[in-house]
């Protein structure tokens, strides 16, 4: 079974969102996503200052077997990409909800409220439907 922490919010495309409480959010890929991809060997994260639209591809995670886009769950401005992942992409496998975060973002006004994010229970249902 995949680990789906109750305090995070999710997307159907397997990103998670953590409200940092300072007007920014942290974004990563879920335990299910890292498990499906397998051993990650390359991660490309966006640079600070980049503006992204909701559902825009803004990061890439590549395992030995496949490359996968990561979509911005919320519109806003990137405040940081995780600098650790350039040298240690495997951190995403080992700790997808912690050290393996991909980016931090300052949502555009109203964007966080407008984003159709899933609760942990709703995301778990998505996984159950997929057979994960």
């Amino acid at each position: 079974m995949s680990n789906v922490p109750a305090d995070l919010r999710y997307t159907k495309s397997h990103e998670w969102v953590r409200d940092l409480g300072d007007g920014t959010v942290e974004i990563g890929i879920t335990d299910h996503a890292q498990h499906e991809l397998g051993d990650l060997v390359f991660v490309e994260v966006p640079g600070a200052g980049r503006t992204v639209k909701a559902d825009e591809p803004c990061a890439v995670v590549e395992s030995v077997k496949a490359a996968s886009d990561v979509y911005a769950p919320i519109a806003g401005e990137i405040t940081a990409g995780n600098p650790k992942l350039a040298g240690e992409p495997e951190v995403v496998n080992a700790d997808p909800y912690g050290e393996g975060w991909l980016m931090r973002l300052k949502p555009s006004p109203g964007a966080l409220a407008a984003a159709a994010l899933l609760s942990a229970a709703e995301y778990q249902k998505v996984l159950d439907t997929e057979g994960g």
């Binding site: 397998g38 051993d39 060997v41 390359f42 490309e44 890439v60 590549e62 395992s63 030995v64 077997k65 490359a67 350039a86």
Partner: protein, 351 residues
């Protein structure tokens, strides 16, 4: 699990990279029962294969010796790549790819009709590949002592029937090891026996990274019916001597051999972060453009490697287009890794 030539096969059992390292450092076992095993028997078997294959089974003099060859159509397109074992003058055994098995059988039977050759598909056999520096010793432990000793005495690229099993010192990883054909009922106990000896279960994912590091082609990626051996890094498998051997595809190959192929298959080593993948575009400056045929992350070299079909004059450095960006890559001669060691000692220091 993925569909592979009609077979449900695991990409990985645990970790693809872990399985890869197990084979480079110790031993791993692969289920390769999806591959087709064909027995060709009869008075005309040798003559038939000399007509059917681009490599010459006339080279096979030692019982059990194997030969790697392409099977070509009349236009010299590669129908399949295969291994053929010489078992005696009236019996050869061929191992073909899963995805081409049905097409191969139809082609072979059509051409065998005129000669006294009987073609039997050995669907009763399973096949396990045990690969890695410790593979032969571990596999021999599964056999009776005399058979184990005989297996360990096999030369490279030679196979032999030992009891119920056909044991061959061949593989697709660049490591020493065996490929063992056995009655299907033996496969699960053998697999579990190997696991209990510390041999790692390995899936299709590790098989692909291992073969690519070893510079070995994958049918359907690196060559197919639309490409000929000289543009697929397989010129060494084409036996144009003796000139009187009239094999299928020969007439189309001769002018290419004479004039040189306008394209070639090379190895690429990515000099920046990222992963080379099949179908990415290769820009070779004045020489023109090419395309990656197989690409991956190399767990041994810890960087990305690929095979690419490029214009014949390509050399030195090229650029590869990945998601709209141009990244630098070095043109190298495969293999990248053999017997656990990088063949690119300066790989990490290249500016």
């Amino acid at each position: 699990m993925v569909d592979f030539g009609g077979w449900d096969m695991p990409v990985q059992y645990s970790s693809q990279i872990g399985e890869h390292h197990a084979v480079r450092r110790a031993a791993g076992v692969f289920d390769v029962s999806h591959m087709g095993v064909l027995d060709l028997r009869g008075q005309g078997a040798r003559a038939f294969l000399q007509q059917l294959l681009a490599n010459d089974v006339g080279k096979l003099k030692v019982t059990g010796k194997a030969l790697y060859s392409c099977m070509l159509n009349e236009h010299a397109g590669v129908l399949d790549d295969l291994i053929v074992y010489y078992l005696n003058d009236y019996w050869f055994r061929m191992v073909v790819n899963a995805g081409t098995r049905a097409k191969d059988l139809a082609w072979i039977r059509e051409h065998a009709r005129r000669l006294a050759v009987e073609v039997t598909e050995r669907t009763d056999l399973a096949m396990l590949a045990i690969q890695g520096p410790e593979a032969r010793a571990k596999a021999a432990e599964l056999m009776a002592p005399a058979e184990g000793a005989a297996a360990l005495a096999l030369d490279t690229f030679v196979g032999r029937e030992l009891g119920r099993w056909f044991v061959a010192r061949t593989g697709y990883t660049g490591e020493d090891g065996f490929e063992i054909m056995m009655p299907a009922a033996d496969a699960v106990p053998a697999w579990r026996g190997l696991n209990s000896l510390g041999v790692a279960s390995c899936g299709l994912g590790a098989r692909d990274t291992l073969r690519l590091e070893a510079g070995m082609n994958l049918y359907g990626n690196d060559m197919d019916e639309s490409t000929h051996p000289f543009e697929s890094g397989l010129g060494w498998t084409v036996a144009l001597a003796p000139p009187e051997r009239d094999f299928l595809g020969r007439a189309a190959l001769e002018p290419i051999a004479r004039e040189g192929s306008p394209r070639k298959l090379v190895g690429l080593l990515l000099e920046e972060r990222g992963v080379l993948r099949a179908h990415q575009k290769v820009l070779a400056a004045a020489a023109g453009e090419g395309e990656i045929t197989s690409g991956t992350y190399s767990p041994t070299l810890e960087r990305s490697i690929a095979l690419a079909r490029v214009p014949a004059r390509t050399g030195g450095r090229v650029q590869v287009e990945i998601r709209g960006k141009l990244l630098g890559a070095r043109v190298v001669k495969p293999p990248f890794v053999r017997a656990g060691n990088s063949l690119l000692p300066q790989a990490k220091d290249t500016p």
